[in-house]
């Protein structure tokens, strides 16, 4: 029967292995220190991912959301985000998470004959009313976002 001595503890690393491991460790630790600091440069302050600002889900209050699109023939049409995407996405849109708002507007631009899409978030707090307007144009991928706080 094999004894425990056939599986010795991991050997102490050689100086060369130590140097290599130290470089990897330094890179991994530096990354972990730097990633949370990117929060300070983020345009969207509601985006707290990878920052350890909170260990629970962020609970930004939602706002009243309305959206509409304008077709090439000048016709305006109200759209209901609740009918198009999952409720969780609607929550992100109404909280004004920029990445989700932009993606939602771009998605509406994918429909035929859409000139521009507008989304308005009316909040009761200091965020006020925010309007997001994406002009699709002929190329659809073109994006312009205008945020206005009143």
């Amino acid at each position: 029967m094999a004894s425990s001595e056939t599986e010795p503890p991991p050997a102490h690393p050689s100086p060369k292995a130590r140097r290599r491991t130290s470089a990897l460790i330094a890179a991994f630790v530096a990354l972990q220190f730097l990633i949370p600091l990117t929060y300070l440069t983020r345009e969207d302050t509601a985006d707290e991912r990878f920052t350890w600002r909170s260990l629970s889900a962020p609970t930004a209050p939602s706002c009243e959301t309305s959206a509409s699109l304008e077709r090439f023939d000048g016709q305006h049409e109200a759209i209901s985000p609740e009918k198009l995407i999952h409720q969780d996405w609607v929550g992100y849109v109404s909280q004004g998470r920029r990445a989700v708002v932009d993606a939602f507007l771009r998605k509406q631009c994918e429909a035929d004959g859409v000139l521009q899409v507008e989304l308005v978030n009316r909040c009761d707090d200091e965020r006020g009313t925010r309007e997001y307007n994406l002009r699709c144009g002929g190329e659809r991928a073109h994006e312009t976002v205008r945020t206005a706080t009143r």
Partner: protein
Amino acid sequence: MKPLERYWFGDVALARPYLLLRFVLALLAFDTWLNMMPQGAKYGVGAFNVAHFPWFDTFIPSSAFYLGVLAFTGVLALSQALYRPHRIAIVLVAAGYTLGWSCSLLDSVPYHYLLTLYLVCFVFFPMLSARAAFSRSDRAPRGSIAPYVLFCVTTAIVYFYVAAWAAAEGQSYWLPMACCAAYLIASMQDRAELPALRMAAPVLMAAPVAFHLFAPQQGWLPIYMIGIAFVVFMPTPWIHSVGRTLTQPARSLVEGRSEEDGTDERAAQVFYMSLVGLVVAPMVSMFVDMPGVKTGCTLTAIAMLFVMGRQLYFTPRWRPVWRVASLFGGCLALWITVTTSTARFDYYREGALDADRRGDHDAAMMFREKADRYAP
């Protein structure tokens, strides 16, 4: 060695990385099945998605994709916790788990990112057997395990930032800062040249335990962190004897089997048994009745085949059979967990509610039928 090198490459009781790896992998498996799978119905709705990283944005994960990834990750993670882990398998668990949360902002649970960092550390852990970590009864085996120290430092960095942001907002920060310091100190407690730390480290456990009992947190984070704190801070003789007790059945089973070297006529027998096991194990997932799970479990079996590689045919030992048995254990645990909990019901109920809200009556009816069938 320089002082910094002494910090990273000093001795650690092997019981700690051994138990840490298995504890986190096992908990992660049940966490994915019980807490993440019920959220699966959100994915792919309206062909809309925003990923955590821009390079993923064009990809819209479907419900089946998400559940498949979670089934794959969970089964592979549990199989690695049940039997001696393999580095390739840990890489696959890390990749699968990270893919699971990063493919959509729908999963913005902060600790899922932390678990990815932990899994990256685990990839470099020594893949210890129970015998290597616990067999020497007179004293706990020790070794230089820098990835374990990195694991502790990773945890300390999280607490550091929790404290720093709290301080920036004028809130109390001393408890998370104490946790940060405690992890930096506890990572050195097994070193013979620092006997005073052995006395202090167990006392320091109070900080993380108190923090996770009282601070608001999401999901199973407190369970992970309190469990991790026990493994990291417990005195060496205690952790060694806990580990010895837990691994006693596994060690006696392995030591009871013959371990002779060289190939013998039993190799073919083991090969066929393993192969049959690899085919049969994913079939358990047929009874789970959730989209993508069958594919996920089949991919786990393929991953296991890849992990075993040449070992499947060329080893005369029972190792391939144990690996396949651990895969079986993972698939069975998935089936039992999903069928005895409300995870499956929650998945279908949430799907029905959302489809109703969007006016998609066909989908709502399909989800509702299943929800009624699996109602507790």
